[in-house]
């Protein structure tokens, strides 16, 4: 018997993923601005799904309020750009601020469990939304444009935003990937599997959860920054909308809660659905809500989790598994 992490399939696939990320970098040089904008959206969805999964899939923390960080990221950009910071550096600053704010919030939020945490986060997002509405400098309830981005020609602007999105997505997904593979990651996966058992084995559950919460704060802040840059106009009603949580829940549940690959698959699926049903509309949301409920009840491991279970596939390996070595004698 031997414990292994990599095998040929996972090496091949991880190599391919890295290659795809490198290839994506040339997208803005090759494609039209509207294609680039759509792919930026896809990257935002991948980032959001991965961050929500880090919280719920590994930390057991179901948040319906990550839109708080999305909104803070987007409005942070407006705020710093208003102070005269150049737009793209303002976006990086805003991402850092959104992440930093998650630290004090974690001291309250992580004391809550299950529904209290879920709705507590939602209330925090509502408070952030109300505070923005009360601020005339941020456009109050009517919204505000990121006019500073008009200094760039549309093609260049779209390319820069895409590169920023690619950079953020690669950084946060790699951070999660290496975090899960590190010795810390073993304890995170133990919490995912059984929080009480992990605690009794000496895992510092609270500290590990804080790590995930803050990572998700930075990541959702980054996504918010990108949403603002990609749409150029934000208003509190939509940027702080609970609909973002609905999207995240859909992507992660359908893709596979608590797997690394699942949420990426879920994001690609949601992106496909959004491009097909461009009108959006209530029927499309009825479908999303019903699908999420059905997956939660009938297929809690999602599409990827079920595939993984049946076929034993690990494409981006974050865990270990035991394999039998050929010719080895079994211990009696």
């Amino acid at each position: 018997m031997r414990v292994q992490r990599w095998n040929r399939t996972s090496k091949l696939f991880t190599g391919a993923t890295v290659a795809i990320a490198v290839l994506l970098a040339v997208v803005p040089l090759v494609f039209e601005a509207d294609v680039v904008q759509k792919l930026t959206n896809l990257l935002i969805l991948v980032l959001l799904a991965a961050m929500w999964n880090a919280l719920a899939g590994y930390g057991g923390l179901l948040s319906v309020g990550q839109q708080a960080f999305i909104g803070i990221g987007a409005y942070g950009t407006i705020f710093f750009a208003g102070l005269g910071v150049s737009p793209y550096p303002a976006m990086v600053l805003a991402m850092l601020v959104a992440g930093a704010i998650s630290v004090p919030i974690s001291f309250l939020a992580l004391r809550l469990r299950a529904a209290q945490f879920a709705i507590g986060m939602w209330v925090i997002a509502e408070v952030a939304s109300i505070l923005v509405r009360l601020d005339q400098n941020l456009g109050a309830g009517t919204g505000i444009s990121l006019i500073q981005l008009n200094q760039y020609a549309p093609n260049f602007r779209q390319a820069y935003t895409f590169w920023l999105a690619l950079g953020f997505t690669v950084i946060f997904l790699s951070a999660l990937f290496f975090l899960l593979r590190s010795p810390l990651g073993v304890s995170l996966q133990a919490i995912r599997d059984d929080e009480e058992a992990a605690r009794s084995l000496g895992v510092r559950v609270a500290a590990r959860k804080r790590l995930l919460f803050v990572l998700a704060g930075f990541g959702c802040g980054a996504a918010g920054v990108l949403i603002g840059a990609n749409t150029l106009f934000i208003e509190p009603g939509s940027i702080f909308s609970v609909q973002w949580s609905a999207y995240m829940i859909f992507m992660v549940l359908v893709g596979g809660l608590g797997t690394f690959e699942g949420p990426i698959l879920g994001a690609i699926l949601l992106f496909g659905i959004q491009t097909t049903f461009t009108q959006g509309g209530p029927w499309y949301l009825v479908g999303l809500g019903a699908t999420a409920s059905l997956f939660a009840l009938a297929l809690p491991r999602g599409i990827w989790g079920s595939i993984e279970e049946r076929l034993g596939l690990r494409l981006l390996p974050v865990g270990y598994r035991v394999v039998e070595v050929k010719g080895e004698k079994r211990a009696a």
């Binding site: 879920a118 109300i130 029927w283 999303l288 809500g289 409920s293 009840l297």
Partner: protein, 292 residues
């Protein structure tokens, strides 16, 4: 005097929140789950009453009585189709399943009834318009009194049901320890279904009050859920009378906030909720953790 008036109006508003929160509190007390579609179910109840009023021209109160059997049936259906399955698989599943349900209800209402804002205030008759001017700055509306009295009656009836009836005892026993209750011959599935049906029926009463005292639209649910949940938490989760007091406290906090600036209404309610969470779960232990 304006402060006294704000407190009185806050109590009336809070009685409405308490009715909304009552079903949430029952379901948490009996099954330890929070139904994230609770607000949308209340709004669904309001729409069912609205449809009956439109079709027959009757008073919303009579229409509500007619709608009750439908809501009770929906409650049973909710328990059997969604909650029962989710109860078995961990604490996150009921939240995820009911969150999905909430999106479905909102958008089905949107398709059927359009995003138009509606109210049943005009159909409810003199009750919505009459009020007494007690002194210069203090007026008491008939509707406020009705909602407060109904809220106290609902909580009182629940108290009697739980303490005096056989069905109430089995519900308390199941809430205490479902497995032990099963051993004593109590059918916990039936108890859960009754608790959900009761919760959905009272949610519909909340929806009726929402429709009469202000306006509603297909997307009103989430706000009602947040206020209801805040009332439950402020009063102490798992305590029935606590939920009534929590609702009143939330209502008073909102009207006092609105005294300072009308836009602060929801904000002060949220801040009271967060303050209660900090006091209950933070406090001294927080500083110890930081120091270590």
């Amino acid at each position: 005097m304006t402060i006294v008036n704000a407190v009185v109006q806050g109590i009336f508003l809070g009685a409405f929140y308490a009715v909304l929160a009552c079903g949430l509190s029952i379901m948490f007390g009996v099954m330890r789950i929070i139904n994230l579609a609770h607000g949308d179910i209340a709004v669904l109840g309001a729409y069912i009453v609205f449809v009956i009023v439109e079709a027959t021209g009757t008073s919303p109160f009579i229409a509500f009585v007619a709608a009750l059997p439908v809501m009770i049936a929906l409650g049973y259906l909710l328990q059997l189709a969604v909650l029962e399955r989710s109860l078995k698989s961990g604490i996150l599943t009921p939240l995820l399943a009911t969150f999905g349900l909430s999106i479905v209800i909102q958008n089905v209402l949107l398709i059927r009834f359009s995003p138009d804002v509606r109210s049943l205030g005009g159909d409810a008759g003199a009750i919505t318009t009459s009020s007494w001017q007690v002194t210069g700055g203090l007026s008491v509306s008939a509707l406020g009194i009705v909602i407060l009295v109904v809220a106290v009656l609902v909580f009182g009836a629940l108290q009697l049901f739980l303490s005096r009836t056989r069905a109430g005892w089995t519900m308390r026993a199941t809430a205490e320890d479902a497995d032990a209750a099963e051993l004593a011959g109590i059918d916990s599935r039936g108890v859960y279904a009754r608790a959900t049906a009761l919760a959905v029926a009272i949610a519909a009463l909340g929806g009726l009050f929402l429709a009469i005292r202000s306006v509603f639209d297909p997307l009103s649910g989430p706000t009602q859920l947040i206020f209801a949940f805040e009332a439950v938490v402020i009063g102490g989760m798992g305590s029935l009378w606590g939920t009534l007091l929590g609702g009143l406290a939330l209502g008073v906090a909102q009207t006092l906030g609105a005294q300072i600036n009308p836009e602060y209404s929801a904000l002060t309610g949220h801040l009271l909720f967060l303050a209660v969470l900090i006091i209950r779960y933070g406090g001294g232990r927080l500083s110890l953790r930081l120091a270590r």
